[in-house]
């Protein structure tokens, strides 16, 4: 029995602390892909709109993979943490993906001016924006970002973006802007094991 419980206990801290809006895909998917990104990082933007979009419509839709979005704002990016707070605040009202897309899309604009609020307000209704503005002041959002960062550091992250694929409790770090063709081959090779 303890042989069954031990792997479960080991998995809990690895996957802990995520909110439901950060997870996309079937809970029974054999592979978990934790995506650590920084909203101000240009490579994260490319990965978000190319590889991750393809993954969502292919391997996530087919139930092979579930994605957990995690924040890893780098210290050199002045507004990355603020952007992460807005995205997570939007997540609380079911608008996480919409705000993530907007933040990555207009990264150059708010990345220089710091006008995250104005950029987010363009994609949400006034009512939703008001809820986000209320939620964004919640200190728990910062704690959540800190938790994601602690998990990333524990996983040995050295850069963003990094995808941590976990299969049968074994993690594989895939850093950088990797194409979906290579990623999907890797996913299929893991599943064939």
């Amino acid at each position: 029995m303890r042989f069954l419980i031990l792997p479960l206990l080991l998995t809990v801290p690895l996957l802990a602390a995520e909110n439901s809006y950060q997870i996309v895909g079937s809970p029974t998917a054999p592979i978990t892909l934790q995506l650590y990104s920084d909203f101000q990082c240009p490579h994260c933007k490319v990965l978000h709109f190319t590889t991750i979009n393809s993954a969502l419509s292919d391997c996530v839709a087919k139930g092979k993979v579930r994605i957990i979005y995690r924040d890893f704002p780098l210290p050199q990016h002045q507004y990355a943490r603020l952007a992460a707070r807005y995205a997570n605040a939007a997540g609380r009202i079911g608008q996480y993906q919409k705000v993530c897309d907007q933040l990555f899309q207009l990264q150059d604009e708010w990345g220089t001016k710091g006008n995250v609020d104005a950029v987010v307000s363009r994609v949400l209704s006034p009512a939703d924006m008001s809820k986000v503005r209320q939620a964004v002041t919640d200190a728990k959002l910062d704690q959540q970002v800190d938790q994601d960062m602690a998990l990333g550091e524990k996983a040995g992250l050295t850069q963003t973006p990094t995808m941590v694929l976990t299969y049968k409790n074994k993690p594989y770090n895939v850093p950088g802007e990797v194409s979906y063709t290579i990623l999907s081959k890797f996913i299929d090779s893991l599943l064939a094991k």
Binding site: N173, V174, V178, K185, F186
Partner: protein, 138 residues
């Protein structure tokens, strides 16, 4: 170069190649392919080919260097390979691309330390090559 020093340099170079090969072969080859792909210097088919072939090439090269068989050729090939690695790393670093070097498996980010290390390997390999050609002339 004294004979003992030449042998030590050759053995050190051989060890570097064997260790780098084993580190790559211990991980799934597609993980190394992902590393190479993130560098964005090769088309996908070439990435897959290099990821398959490079670790074994390094292993064979390491063993040949260890035995000293056809040393002039193996040392020259090792130097050429290290020169390619170094120039790729330098180019990526100057372009500001943040990638994992992948030289000794995962978790080896490209930075000044990696460049100094790979540069030192290139100097060592050039020394072994030069010495092997010089010895042949004598």
């Amino acid at each position: 170069m004294p004979r003992v020093l030449a042998i030590l340099a050759r053995l050190a170079l051989a060890t570097i190649f064997v260790v780098a090969a084993i580190a790559k072969l211990r991980q799934p080859w597609l993980l190394f392919a992902a590393n190479l792909d993130a560098m964005q210097i090769l088309p996908e088919q070439a990435v897959l080919f290099v990821a398959r072939v490079l670790p074994w090439t390094e292993l064979v090269l390491g063993v040949l260097l260890l035995t000293g068989f056809k040393l002039r050729y193996t040392a020259a090939f090792a130097t050429a390979l290290l020169a390619i690695f170094f120039s790729v790393m330098l180019r990526l670093y100057l372009r500001g691309v943040e990638v994992d070097c992948g030289c000794f498996g995962p978790g080896d980010p490209l930075g000044p330390k990696t460049l100094v290390r790979d540069g030192a390997f290139l100097v060592l390999s050039s020394g072994v090559t030069f010495e092997s050609f010089l010895r042949r002339r004598r």
